[in-house]
Every structure is written in C-alpha cells, then in structure tokens.
C-alpha cells in the first residue's frame, strides 16, 4: 500500500524513528490504558451525578427516586434500551466524524449544520427520485446525505487549508447558515405538497417512499437498522485510520503538521480531507435520522447532536471503536435524563446541567489515564522527540 513518497520517507532514518516512536506510543496508549479507560468515564459519570444531588436538593427532589428513574428509564426495559440505542445511532455517527477530525488535528464544531444539510439533501433526493427502485434509491439517498455533509465540512477544510481561515469560525458560522437554509427550504421549496394543497403549513417535507425506510429492529419502537450501519462504519473508520495510507497520513498531519510536510505529505490536502470526511459522517447521521426515524425532514431533527457527538467521541477516547460503547453510554444518559424529567417532574434544564457536570468530570478524569500512560512511556520506551510529544497533546487537546 505504501507508495514511493512513503518509501522515501521511510528511508530517512530520522523519519523512520519518528514514525516508530509515534506508533509505539500509540500502541502503548492503546493497550495499557484500555481497561481503566473503559471504566473511568463511567466512574466519572457516577461522581458527577453524585455532585448533581446538590441540584436536586435545590429543586426539593428526592435524589434516589430521581436517579433510579434515570437508570430505570434508560436501561430498565425494552422501551428504554431501544430509546438509548436509537439515540446512540446519530451520536455514534457524529462521534466517528469527530474522531477523524481530531486525529487529523482539526476541530469540527459544525456537526450540527452538517447533520442538517445531510438530512435535507437525503430527503430532497429520496423524495425527488421516489420512482427509482428501492435497491438503487436507498443507497443513493444515503450517499446524497453523506455528500452534502462532505461539502459542508469540506468548505471549512478548504478555507483552512488554502486561505488559513480558522475552522472554528467557519464551522460555527456554517451551523447558523445551515439552520437558516433549513428554515427556508422547509417553508418553501421542500414544503410537503400535500400540506400546501390542504392549505396547512407545517414546516416539514413530504414523506420518503416507504420502500426505503430503514427497517425497525424492534416493533413499536424507533430503534432502526441505521444502528447496524453505524457500527459497521465504526469498524470502517478504524480500518481507515489505522490500516490505510490515507488514515496514516491523516494521523501524521494531526500529530505534527510540520514534520508531515517535511516528510512530503501534502498537509493542506489532508486537512481538507479530514474535515470533509468528518462532515460526511455527520451528514450521513442526518440522512440516517431521516430514513430511520422520521421518514421526512422536519424541524427539530437534530437540535444538539453536533455537540453531543463531540462528547460521545470524547467518552470513547477519540477512538472509533471506543465510540461505540461511549455513544451508547451517553445516549443512555440523555434518555435517562428525559425519563427523569417525566418521572419526578423536574425542569428539563436539570438534565442539561447534569450533562454539563458529567462532561466536566469525564474530561477531567482523563488526567489520571494520561499521567499513567506518560509514566509508562517514560519508563519503558525511548522518550519521543520533544516536538512530537508536545503536539500529541496539542492535536488532541484542541477540541
């Protein structure tokens, strides 16, 4: 798989050492931290919820009742579990996109907008070409969602790579543009003709043909086969990042852009690519939500998955495979918090505040893992070049 440029790079002893060290440290990180890494976010989440008891006291709510409703609601029965998994599906897809961006050393906080344009494009295509056979239409619909996300993520990528426009700025702005675009399309060109005919104006599109709806996995729930697609894609992203040249270069650019440029990797191209791929997965998340849950585009399709996906990616240690259990865990928290609102009748704001606490605690708990890993690297292996050392932190620290 390695091409000539790669071989040249391998020829340089300095570069070879750099790569060896980098990979070695990655392996060390991976294996050593595995067990505690998995358990630590859960532990941090528990501690956060314990601190959250203060908020419950503020509201005069019995914490035990509230939290048992949270756990019971998310995991206690079929309905809760399927809701958790339904929620985890877009979180996982967005989370995967975030993983790629992270590894490529860029920050994508434009997930929200990418989801929206993905959903819009998928709907437009699915409705527009509804006469195509389902076997053709379904993949094409998914692809149009992914393509729209790819473009919406690729623009910030291109602007960053070519013109040095910071991607935080562009992704924040493009979220707003996407939302306004949706407001317009759902009230104008994409408004359900049935509603127009009936003289009603609910801002939603026409329904997609039933033949391409993603099959529901459990009857009488929203849990749909998009979940399987998401898990498969997690494997694919893992393969892409750690088993292909493209993935290797994305990570190399993320770890140290200067060294990568020195090694002959076209940095600009890979910066654009990681943002575009990241956007593509978010766009796909939008398409999957449309095809699996709502069967049409409507307002309130996303509402925060762009941010929640970042958190899910973090819970999964920014690793595509880690993102699978992590998005389920975070999905459970979100679903449980909603159930808690219903069971003990607390304002929805409480759930948001609790999520914030959980994120703060989980993100802080990372220190422990890192210290341990770093110690082991220091003990067992050769110390990495200082630049790479600092930049490992930087690339991951930035989001």
């Amino acid at each position: 798989m390695r091409n000539a440029a790669e071989m040249r790079m391998a020829d340089s002893p300095q570069k070879a050492r750099w790569r060896r060290v980098t990979e070695q440290r990655m392996n060390t990180r991976l294996y050593l931290a595995k067990l505690i890494d998995v358990l630590l976010p859960v532990l941090a989440m528990v501690i956060a919820l314990v601190v959250g008891v203060l908020l419950l006291f503020l509201l005069g709510t019995d914490p035990i009742e509230a939290y048992s409703a949270l756990i019971q609601g998310a995991l206690g029965n079929i309905s809760g579990i399927t809701q958790t998994l339904t929620k985890a599906t877009p979180l996982l897809l967005v989370g995967l996109g975030i993983c790629i961006a992270f590894r490529g050393g860029v920050i994508n906080i434009g997930g929200e907008g990418q989801i929206v344009v993905g959903a819009l494009a998928a709907t437009a295509f699915g409705v527009g070409f509804r006469d195509l056979p389902a076997l053709v239409l379904l993949p094409l619909t998914l692809i149009s969602g992914a393509a729209a996300g790819l473009i919406w993520g690729g623009i910030p990528g291109l602007l960053k790579a070519r013109l040095g426009v910071n991607e935080i700025l562009t992704t924040v702005m493009m979220n707003q543009i996407a939302l306004r675009l949706m407001n317009f399309l759902l009230r104008g060109p994409m408004l359900d003709p049935e509603h127009v005919a009936a003289g009603t104006s609910i801002p939603q599109s026409a329904a997609l043909p039933e033949s391409i709806w993603l099959p529901r996995l459990v009857p009488r729930t929203l849990f749909h086969s998009g979940a399987i697609l998401a898990v498969l894609l997690a494997l694919a992203v893992y393969f892409l990042l750690w088993r292909t040249t493209i993935g290797y270069r994305i990570r190399a650019v993320g770890l140290n852009p200067h060294a990568s440029r020195y090694a002959g990797i076209p940095v600009a191209k890979y910066v654009t690519l990681s943002l575009a791929l990241s956007g593509m997965l978010c766009g796909l998340a939008g398409a999957v939500e449309v095809l699996g849950v709502h069967h049409r585009m409507l307002e309130g399709l996303s509402g925060g998955y762009g941010f929640s996906g970042i958190v899910a990616a973090l819970f999964g240690k920014l690793h595509p495979l880690g993102a699978i259990p992590a998005s389920a865990l975070f999905g459970a928290l979100l679903v449980g918090a909603d159930k808690m609102q219903r069971a003990v009748q607390v304002p929805s704001a409480l759930a948001i505040a609790l999520q914030g606490l959980v994120v703060l605690f989980v993100v802080s708990s990372d220190l422990y893992v890192r210290r341990r890993t770093r110690r082991r690297v220091g003990d067992d292996g050769p110390a990495g070049p200082p630049a790479a050392e600092g930049n490992t932190r930087e690339s991951i620290a930035e989001v």
Binding site: L179, Q204, H294, L298
Partner: protein
Amino acid sequence: MLRRISISTLIFLLLLAGCGRSDDSGDGETVGAEGDPFRIAIVMPSSTTDIAWSQSMFDSLVAVQTEMGGEDALTIAYSEGMFRVTDASAAIRDYASEGFDLVIAHGAQYGNSVFEVAADFTETSFAWGTSSDTGADKGIENVFAYGAVANEGGYVNGVVAAMLTQTDVIGVIGPVAGDAKLYIDGFVRGVTEIKPDAQVNISYTGSFSDTTLAAEAAHVHIQAGADVLTGSAQQVVGAIGVANENGVAWLGTQSDQISLGPDVVVTNQIYNWANVVADMISKIENGELGGTAYKLTFANDGLRLEFNENIEIADEVKEAARTAIEDIKSGAVDPVLWEEDE
C-alpha cells in the same frame, strides 16, 4: 352563539361531574376508575415559561385543573424543552404506555410521531397542534387536532395598531419567514382596514429564540418611525423590553405579555385552550377518543383580546377593537381560510 351555549353547558356539566365524582369517592363504593383523577400528559417544544406557544397551553391546562377541582380531579404531567422530535416521540410513547388518558403533543412537528404512536395505542387519546388533521383518512380514530385562528387576533391587533399610530408606521417582528404568517397577514389586513396608507414594516430574525436580534429589530423599527410594534415567538421578550424602554406601544399575542411591558403592552391576544381541553376531556369520558379538529376563535372564546388595565386606552380604540371582534364573529369581516399557524 349556539356554540358558546353548548360550551358553557359542557363546562357546567363537567363541574357537576367533578362534584359528583368527589361525592362518589366519599361513598367509597363506586368503581375505582371513576374516582381516579383524569390524567393528562403534555409534550412541549419549549419551556412552560416561554411566554408564547408552550406557556399558552400550559397555563390553560392549569386553569382547567383549577376549575375541575385541583389534582384530585386532574393531574398534569409535562415534558418541556422537547425541541428534538426524537425525544418528543419517545416521551409521547412513554406517556401512552403509562396509561395516561390524554397525551397532548404540543407542536406541529410532532404529527408523525403522534400518528405512529396512536396506531399502537388505540385505547389512549392523543391531541396535537397546530393542525386540523385528526388522521381520519389514515383510519385513526383516537387523535384530536387543534389550532388557533391567529389571523383573527392579528386582525384586531392590526385595527388597534392603526388606531394608535401617530406616525402611520408600524413594525412587525417575525421569527422565520413563512411562520406566524396567519397572525402577520391578519395584522396587516387589520391595519389596512382602518388606515390604508399606513406603512407596515415587517422584519424576520431568522430564528425563534434570538432575543438579541429581536430587540435590535425593535430598535430598527422605532428608528424607522414606527410607534406601534408587534411580533411573535418566544424571541419577542427582547423586543418588548426595548418597546418598554422607548415607550412605544406593543401588541402581544399567544400568552399574557403585559407583565413584561406594563406601561406599553396595550392589547394581548391570548390563546385560551381551556375550553378545547375541557371538551376533549368530556368526549374522552364519553368514550370518544378523537376525531375532532378544534380551532380557537373569538366566537368560541378560544381567542381573547385583553386590554392592559394599567394604562389609559382611548375609548375609541377599545370600541374599534370590540367592533372588529364582533365583525369577525358575525362574519361581516371575511373569515380567512383555516390555516396552520403557531
């Protein structure tokens, strides 16, 4: 008139039923179900205190509860902030499976979810709005639909605006173009009816909750000469603050906004869902689980125009408003086609 009588009779009967029930429970002999409170669950896109769409329904539910005799007669469970439709859908399904008597999905975007869940829980009654679609054509019989004919109140507010304005410039702050269209269309018609030459400037913020931009839009209208303002969606709180500071008249809609601008809010179109809810309750208790599409109008007391008691309002303004309302009720003013609107 007939409708009004029937509704008041209904409420009266309801009250009787409520009394009767408490007597029954005193006997301790009646069937358990009769003594249990009626259970309503509601799912709302924004907060119970959004001073607009969600609050209007929540306040009405509380009013019905008070009228029926408190929590012993009617319990209300709510999920607020359900702007994500997937979450709302889960909430609707959960409420249905928990055996609520009536599940209200308070947003047009919840329509899909309502019909999907309603098909699975045929013994439970559902209601959703803004809509006129009860799903009858899909063979669904347990869904009520409701909506407000907001152009009626818009028209009356428009008449009031035209009477109030000295500069003949009036500003409207809308959320997203195409939304709140009924209210704004009605408003413009009302203004033109009185002052055909008056200028109505409309600006949209592009968002439902951008209070900052709504506030600035109010400033812009004022600088452009407007001396009467109106607007819709929860974002308007920002604009009312500005109107208050500048002493410019504000005409409210959806929920009671007088507390925000005690000196400037002149009139307030209020969505009063109480009758609709009471009617649904009585239908459900009689075994009719859906099929009716309700509209709030002045004629059925679903829309109310409230004048701010704290400020002096010229008699001719009040008179014009009352005339407009009567004209709408009698049909002298062309009733606009039924359309959805929040």
